[in-house]
């Protein structure tokens, strides 16, 4: 393991990936396969085209190789050169997505820290700052009784207008029918039964990164703005220079609450706020899946680079 410079982990490190030795288990998110044929559920087909992660040297045509903070490679997540309107659900390919699949043992504090940067593709003149709609991190958590998605998103631009504020996963009140997908998403408890009583579908609060009604200013039924959460990150002055940023999100798995978001020099106190909590799904008790994603705001590829990412758990200072 390389230096932990820049990280402030809790007592027990779950993983520390710096991507100079491989992808470390990060893989693109694909829909669940059906029981009857090797294919996806019809309503899930539109989620089968997200951009996969890759090991990047962060090479630019007229700079050369940036490399990473302490080596050559970072994890890069890329979109296709497509985007829908900000008040539409994302079109296929407009998101790049990476997930790692774990389980967890203790209901206590959980922290994700990473050094990352983001950029539009240098395929045309122009800085491209407005072409990155959003990026973020969340965990998919199921603790045996409930499932929830605690996470944070930086909404950078919407419809070409800069937004530059932090949001957390928390759905507005409302019905599952308005969430955007009532189709079957997985086999039920009895996998051989037809869609019916035990139908599994995406409840309100699940997969906020693409579900939930969206609005022109980048707000969404799936997210809540962080109070005083406006922050200008370092996009730099040109399309081919990158700066690594510090991100940290802490949640309390015992209380099912947010604790704190840190970004560069800012600390946002999130205590007392809960993500949307839903009933458990079959076969995923004590699942813990960290997720990274990036979304395009224009018909241009955009990239999230993660130099390194660390997840840790513990009782924290209060323990």
């Amino acid at each position: 393991m390389s230096s932990l410079y820049g990280f402030e982990p809790l007592e027990q490190i779950i993983f520390h990936d710096d991507f100079d030795r491989g992808l470390n288990g990060w893989v693109v998110l694909t829909p669940n396969l059906r029981q009857d044929v090797i294919d996806y559920f019809p309503s899930q087909q539109r989620f089968s085209d997200w951009g996969p992660p890759m090991l990047s040297s962060a090479t630019f045509g007229y700079v050369g190789t940036h490399g990473s903070i302490s080596g050559t490679y970072s994890l890069k997540i890329a979109t296709r050169p497509v985007a829908g309107r900000p008040d539409q659900q994302p079109v296929p390919g407009s998101i790049g997505h990476a997930i790692k699949r774990l389980t967890f043992m203790k209901k206590q504090l959980l922290r994700c820290e990473m050094w990352y940067t983001f950029k539009a593709e240098q395929d045309r003149p122009g800085i491209g700052e407005r072409d990155v709609r959003a990026f973020g991190f969340f965990w998919d958590v199921q603790d045996g009784e409930k499932r929830y998605f605690p996470g944070a998103r930086y909404i950078n631009s919407a419809g070409g207008k800069m937004q530059q504020r932090w949001q957390i996963f928390k759905a507005t009140e409302g019905a599952d029918e308005d969430w955007g997908d009532m189709g079957q998403s997985a086999p039920g408890d009895d996998p051989d039964s037809e869609e019916g009583a035990n139908r599994v579908y995406l409840h309100r609060g699940i997969d906020s990164q693409w579900l939930g009604k969206r609005y022109k200013d980048g707000s969404s039924d799936g997210f809540m703005d962080v109070q005083d959460g406006h922050q200008k990150l370092v996009y730099n002055e040109t399309i081919d220079k990158i700066n690594w940023h510090y991100f940290s999100l802490t949640v309390d798995l015992a209380k099912r609450e947010y604790v704190e978001l840190r970004s560069v020099n800012r600390i946002f106190d999130l205590r007392g706020i809960q993500p949307t909590i839903v009933d458990p799904y079959p076969r995923i008790d004590f699942l813990l899946n960290p997720v990274l994603w990036v979304e395009a705001d224009n018909n241009r590829r955009v990239f999230l680079y993660v130099d390194s990412i660390l997840n840790s758990t513990g009782r924290g200072e209060e323990g």
Binding site: L23, V28, Y40, P52, L55, S56, T59, R80, E121, R301
Partner: protein, 111 residues
């Protein structure tokens, strides 16, 4: 032990026109294989012609010289490529009368 990674560049996807796979960074790998799985193929005189391209920046592309044999039936096909720099993609031409192909493309990388 050598690093290894398989990425699915196209996943049971339908095409009726020419297309390129998305740029994939693989500078860490010393050898690669592209696999094409044809799930469905329809249209008169349909042919899929695929060739490897390389790039210095993931944006400007040049033919590498390795090409798939012309594909005009279902099944699995592969080609090998090495010494390719930082990026790889496949350029694919879909030819015929009302052609449509449903395919999966894998890029298999080894250090």
């Amino acid at each position: 032990m050598r690093n290894f990674y398989t990425v699915v560049l196209e996943r049971m996807k339908r095409y009726s026109q020419d297309f390129d796979t998305e740029p994939y960074e693989c500078g860490w790998a010393g050898e690669a294989m592209f696999f094409i799985r044809i799930h469905e193929l329809s249209g008169k005189d349909i042919m899929l012609e695929s060739r490897v391209q390389v790039s210095v920046d993931g944006i400007h592309w040049i033919d590498e010289g390795t090409v798939f044999p012309t594909i005009n039936n279902g099944g699995d096909f592969f080609i090998k490529v090495s010494h390719f720099g930082g990026w790889l993609r496949l350029r694919n031409q879909v030819k015929g009368d009302n052609p449509e192909v449903r395919l999966t493309v894998h890029l298999v990388l080894k250090e």
